[in-house]
């Protein structure tokens, strides 16, 4: 072979290599009728600020799917409806999605009450229901629901245990805990479990209070918290309740030595002056080792960019967005592996297989389709949430800081 011919051959190979990705992407562009995935989110109402994170995550995931090969080579269409933060509306809309819109697959709504309502509909029509934010595993009896809120089957026991373990490992472990919780079902469930766990561990619980979801005036509750002056305040709250309670306490010139927030709005608490050293739980934060999880490198930067554009106060992927991404990853994994859109085929595959996701590897072979409790303890440090417990998941150089 002459040198000229060899050069020509090399050029040909190089040209082919340069063109190959374009050719591949052209071939991979999804086509045909869309795979329609239906679901609701609380786009309005009291749950809307957090549901917005799930909307952004879902939009990003569907866009990324469609930029690649879609599902089974077909584009994906997400039919998203507003359940107004009301379970009864969610139930009606899921009924509509199945019977009127005739969607191929379902995606769950945001938060326990809505998911429970949607689960009833999914069960009636034997549709698979992946979801991301269900906090009462013992109520989820349907065999084709697949949770990515990886609490494990008994979060009322395991989550408080993780939190109290983390605090017990500090130089000044708490001896008493005041528990204040919203009556929102999952918050109340896990907080009442925290009381039991605390008492079993020999911690004093001088105060256990439940208040109505939507309470605005925390003055009297704050007075009771100050009155008992416990070493740890467990706030079983959703959204901004925790911020409001801390503000009410500040008005009484009192700051709890330590405070744990069950389901806080992550941004407002992280940036609030009273939120300094606040504790919470998480399955994902934007630091190692989580950034090595499946899809993190691709999805995290996209979410940050999109959340910043949407004026989200804390434009970072945490439990909420990560749980949502993971739910979409379940659908993609099951459809890709089975090459099917049949709910029963997909459901059977998910029950048998482990799925690597943004929040870790999920399995659904435990009680009520729950696998491992993947929750860790995080703390606000320098205006940002970082995981501090268990140590192997802590952010580089981070540890649980004392008050």
């Amino acid at each position: 072979m002459t040198t000229r011919r060899r050069r020509f051959g090399c050029r040909l190979i190089l040209t082919a290599l340069v063109l190959l990705p374009f050719a591949a992407s052209a071939a991979a562009a999804p086509s045909g009728p869309p795979v329609r995935i239906g679901g609701t989110l609380a786009l309005t109402g009291p749950l809307a600020p957090t549901a917005l994170l799930h909307k952004l995550a879902g939009e990003i995931y569907v866009e990324e799917l469609n930029k690649a090969n879609g599902l089974l080579g077909r584009p994906v269409e997400w039919i998203l409806l507003d359940d107004q933060s009301k379970p009864d509306v969610a139930r009606s809309l899921y009924e509509k999605l199945v019977t009127v819109d005739k969607v191929d697959l379902l995606m769950g709504p945001y938060a326990t009450s809505g998911i429970l309502a949607a689960m009833g509909v999914a069960q009636r029509y034997q549709k698979m229901l992946p979801h991301h934010t269900f906090g009462m595993p013992h109520l989820a009896k349907y065999e084709m629901h697949f949770p990515t809120a990886a609490f494990g089957p008994e979060p009322q026991r395991t989550l408080p245990t993780t939190v109290f373990d983390a605090l017990a490992a500090t130089s000044k472990p708490p001896k008493s805990v005041a528990i204040v919780t919203s009556k929102f079902p999952s918050a109340q469930h896990q907080s009442s479990g925290a009381k039991e766990v605390a008492e079993k561990r020999g911690l004093k619980v001088p105060l256990y209070l439940e208040y109505e979801f939507g309470t605005r005036d925390f003055g009297a509750i704050a007075a009771r918290i100050k009155d008992v002056n416990a070493d740890l305040l467990w706030i079983g709250a959703l959204g901004l309740d925790g911020n409001q309670l801390l503000e009410a306490l500040k008005k009484l010139d009192y700051s709890p030595p330590r405070h744990f927030h069950l389901f806080p709005a992550p941004g407002p608490l992280a940036v609030a002056p009273d939120g300094k050293l606040a504790l919470s739980s998480t399955v994902f934060e934007e630091h190692p080792p989580f950034l090595g999880n499946a899809g993190a490198a691709r999805l995290v930067p996209l979410f940050k960019e999109r959340a910043a554009k949407a004026n989200v106060p804390y434009p970072h992927v945490d439990t909420q967005a990560a749980g949502s991404f993971a739910a979409w990853q379940l659908i993609e994994a099951a459809v890709t592996a089975t090459k099917s859109l049949d709910d029963k085929v997909l459901g059977a595959w998910l029950r048998k297989n482990r799925v690597p996701t943004l929040i870790g590897t999920l399995r659904f072979d435990g009680p009520n389709n729950y696998g491992d409790d993947l929750f860790k303890v995080k703390q606000v440090q320098d205006g940002k949430w970082v995981v501090v417990w268990p140590k192997e998941f802590a952010a580089p150089g981070a540890r649980l800081l004392p008050p």
């Binding site: 208040y211 003055g219 911020n243 500040k250 009484l252 010139d253 407002p268």
Partner: protein, 283 residues
């Protein structure tokens, strides 16, 4: 057994929460009692006032008192406009419930469209400021709201009791035909009162912006308890509305401190039922 400090603090918290209830109830009580309009949109107007205070403060750095100086006259005009609509469509006491409910829903949607459903917090340096009296802490902003409510209630009472316009308004509410025969211009005074009620909603809104976290659905959080306050206080009775607000506020707060916060929402209606049993002709 709760400590005396806890009880004292609960009473203080209740009195201050009651001040806000009284402030919100004032305009509603006047329009219901004197114009026979059950104005559910009053709550939406108050929240709109809160959002405008927030907007003027955060986007235009206007201090809250200056924002209130802009919003209150604006709301007075809005009240006039609303009354013109009610008059044109001959809205009655019963239909006003439906019409103003619709208005409240529209206002809620507009608020959500403009400010989104995300929570809004107007951060001010004095948001958590408190005065200390012995072992008790008195939040400054809530105290200011309570004092404003007291001042407005007393001024409105004096206006209704001692001025010609006030007497004419009460006469018209009692018997419009006889009042008209004595030369009372009920139509004109209705506009004035409607404007005043809306202006009171604006004042309440300014305090709500400073004290609370704002969310569009908050409109509905007050409806039940403020209705109870208006009925307990007596229609068109500004001082009664304030006192009823304080009564409900203290009852709720003491219930939270002594029993459990989960029972607090029952208090307002339990008190209302007891009062209606004792005085069935209250409404």
């Amino acid at each position: 057994m709760p400590s005396l400090t806890l009880l004292g603090q609960a009473v203080v918290s209740g009195l201050l929460a009651g001040g806000i209830y009284g402030l919100l109830a004032l305009g509603l009580s006047l329009s219901w009692g004197l114009l026979r309009l059950v104005n559910l949109a009053h709550f939406a107007l108050a929240l709109l006032g809160a959002y405008l205070t927030y907007q003027l403060g955060t986007a235009h750095q206007l201090p809250p008192w200056l924002a209130a100086a802009v919003i209150v006259p604006l709301f007075f005009l809005l009240g006039l406009g609303l009354h013109a609509v009610f008059t044109y469509f001959r809205v009655t006491e019963f239909t006003s419930l439906l019409v103003t409910f619709g208005l409240a829903v529209i206002l809620e949607s507009l608020i959500q469209w403009f400010w989104t459903a995300d929570y809004r917090r107007y951060e001010t340096p004095y948001a958590t400021a408190s005065a200390r009296v012995g072992p008790l802490f008195i939040p400054v902003l809530e105290l200011l709201a309570g004092l404003t409510a007291a001042l407005l209630a007393l001024a409105t009472w004096a206006w209704l009791r001692f001025t010609y316009v006030g007497k004419a308004l009460r006469a018209s509410a009692e018997d419009p035909a006889i009042a008209a025969a004595f030369g009372v211009n009920h139509r004109g005074q209705g506009f004035l009162l409607s404007g005043l009620s809306a202006a009171y909603a604006g004042i309440a809104g300014a305090f709500i912006a400073l004290i609370s976290t704002l969310a569009p659905t908050q409109i509905w959080a007050w409806v039940g308890v403020v209705f109870a306050v208006v009925i307990i206080g007596g229609l068109a009775n500004p001082v009664g509305a304030l006192l009823a607000g304080l009564l409900i506020g203290v009852s709720e707060s003491v219930t939270m401190a002594v029993v459990t916060p989960a029972w607090a929402p029952l208090v307002a209606f339990s008190v209302l039922i007891l009062i209606l049993i004792a005085r069935p002709g209250r409404v």
